[in-house]
Amino acid sequence: MLSVQQVSGGYSNEAVLNDISFEVKTGELFGILGPNGSGKTTLLKMLSGILPIQTGEILIGGKRLQEYRAKELAQMVAVLSQHSSQSFSYSVKETVSLGRYAHQKGFFQTWSNEDEAVVQRVMKQIGVAAFQNKNIQELSGGEKQRVFLAQALAQEPEILLLDEPTNHLDLSYQKELLDFLKRWTSEKGLTVISIFHDLNLAGLYCDRLLLLEKGMINIDHVPNEVLREERIRDVYHTDIQKHPHPKVAAPQMVLLPSVDKETKTIEIDQTMLTVSEEFIVLTPTTPLRTMSSGVIGSGTGWHQTFVNRHVDKDYNCNDHRAEMASFLRSNGFEPSETVGMMTAVVLEDVIFKLFKQEDFSVFVVVTAGVGNAIDASKSELHTYGLVPGTINTWIFVNGELTEEAFIQSIMTATEAKVKAMHDLMVMDEVTGTIATGTSTDSILIAASQTGTVLEFAGTITPLGKLISKAVYQCTTEAIQKSSRRKQL
């Protein structure tokens, strides 16, 4: 659809772009990225015929850009700028109708039925039909942008060029606009070429990305290739980290603030722990990186309060998450900053210990009851039912963990727990075999992310060794303690 061949050019006295070549296929959503001054806007202006091409060729639909007459080009290519100035109070419909200019023929350029139909259709599709008689100067930024999008689409173009279309738009409009464009590319075969400032939006929506650096192409590839940490760091000269989108297979970048990291390393130990009849609370002085399976704050995240709450054996609630959140709130904890678990175990029986190594330490807190112990290998014999967890394991690591180490920590801790059950001969009452855990066990790995970097946590790594030892000891003692209480 669009082919750029060895193009150089820019403003009259200096060439901003050098030797640019790329192709855009029909129906593609093509993103142009680059730091300020890399020539993004210049490139777009050359594509739309505003700036002259010094050397090279731009072919649109196989025809040279210069061979198009102004009206012909407008039927082929429409442009949506960052923001358009409007000095006079045209109505929305008048504004959109101007998009039909290129399609009107003859000396008097009469307004045909087709023109009217296209304008009405486009206004409906973009959702501006409802205020078509309103004065454009009275609209909000997002509404104005939609009106100008409708104007561009009323041109019925095959290529739509956009210059940072989401600038000045709030979050929901950004998404709405890009969702819309994406739909038009796939449903109507519209080719969209857009400049993006926001790398994440570009990574999320574009089929292909072109990264410009100092007027030259750095790379022209799929988002996952273009949005590589090292590449973006080099081109933009800033610290970023890449991580996957939680729902979509798209790369995302996060900025790393260069604020000095707190040099003071905190050590989590029993001084931060409070045990009452109702709950066990641990409140470190800074937020911790967590990976957990709690009722509240599960998954990965950053949390500052850790609550293990005692509930009755017959605790039953339709929406235990909401109930837990309101419980936390009523006790002065902020649910969004809290990892919360539940247990029917008497909290007095909690076991916690600090295990130290030379340059890091692990603090483990376990509450254990084995009332509904289960052999995982035969779990299909059990019926499904959510009962408050009976072995809750908290592992606090005073060190910096990689994602890998987090996952290995969970494996190591689980293995240690199973071994403890095995050694205590805890039986699954349904199957009559040795149990491996209970049906609702929960685990939390939390790391201060300061101090020593701990890359791995497999069973024979320094961290793994410490975790297995700590979890094994604490779990054993906790089970013994609660069993003893039962027998009394």
């Binding site: 407008a74 700028s81 109070s89 101007l98 009107q104 008689n133 104007q151």
Partner: protein, 353 residues
Amino acid sequence: MQRLSIQRFLNNKYLAYILAGIFLFLAILFGISIGTVSVPMVTIMKIIGAKLLWFLSFGDIDPMYSSIVLNIRLPRVILSGLVGASLAIAGAAFQGLLRNPLADPYTLGVSSGASVGAVLTLFFHLSIPIIGSFTLPLLSILFSLFTIFLVLTFASKIERSMRVETIILTGIIFSSFLGAIISLMIALTGDELRQIIGWLLGSVSMRGWEYIKIILPFFIIGSALLIFNAKELNAMSFGEERAQHLGVNVQKRKLIILTAGSILTGAAVAVSGTIGFVGLVIPHLSRLLWGPDHRHLLPLSIITGSGFLILADLISRTIISPTELPIGVITALIGAPVFAIILLQRKRKERSG
């Protein structure tokens, strides 16, 4: 419901033309009727009717009335109407093109440029062979064209985006400079003084049919050029880049519009001198009443502009009768405050968002 609003919209446009037409008609009638000798409205109708429909008989008409109407008042009214129309449509076009509600031939300095052309013609008694009496408007037009390009080039040198205020400031600089040149010429001239003073302050008195013949062809050409470019003006009032994206051949159209505006201004100045603010007030008022769409704004500006200047001329010659005020005094008295109000509104709008 949608149908209803569209219908109302259409009705609105018809209503606009009817209202403007009535305004012009009344202005013409009053313009002819009122003066040191008052001519009854019925008599005016009869005289003009007899002239246009010579085969009908309207009974006896007093020859004195007939002479006043046909030789003095009617040409004066028509001339002021044409000048008002020319200045108003030129102002509307400049405003649309420059996206600047404060632009008009006077504030842009184009009128002053045209005056220099006119004064030069009178000062040196220039007369180009063949075109003869058209030397005056032609030179005025050339000078106004030259001035507008100079003003725009200079303004874009100051600032690429050519903000409203920059253009106006540039216009003022050029006006002052050109005004000084005119004053210099007046100082150097002897007996032509009175005639030249006329150009400075603007007047349509004692011009006769001769001057109508001078302005009419330029008025028709200029207005036609602009009305045929009404759509392009609509597009360009969203910015030149935007217009190009919409498919407008901006370079060509801009040249046509600027030329047409200069033709209208030059011709108007050649016959009546510099009359300020007509091109500012009328388009602004029309836009306020009937919307900014140039397809209607331009013709409506013609109609209301001519009516406005006819009334302004009427006031200028009756208010302190028997002395006549220059017509430019009246238009400036109305126009300058309007200019101030528009400026104030713009600033308020910018501030509020």
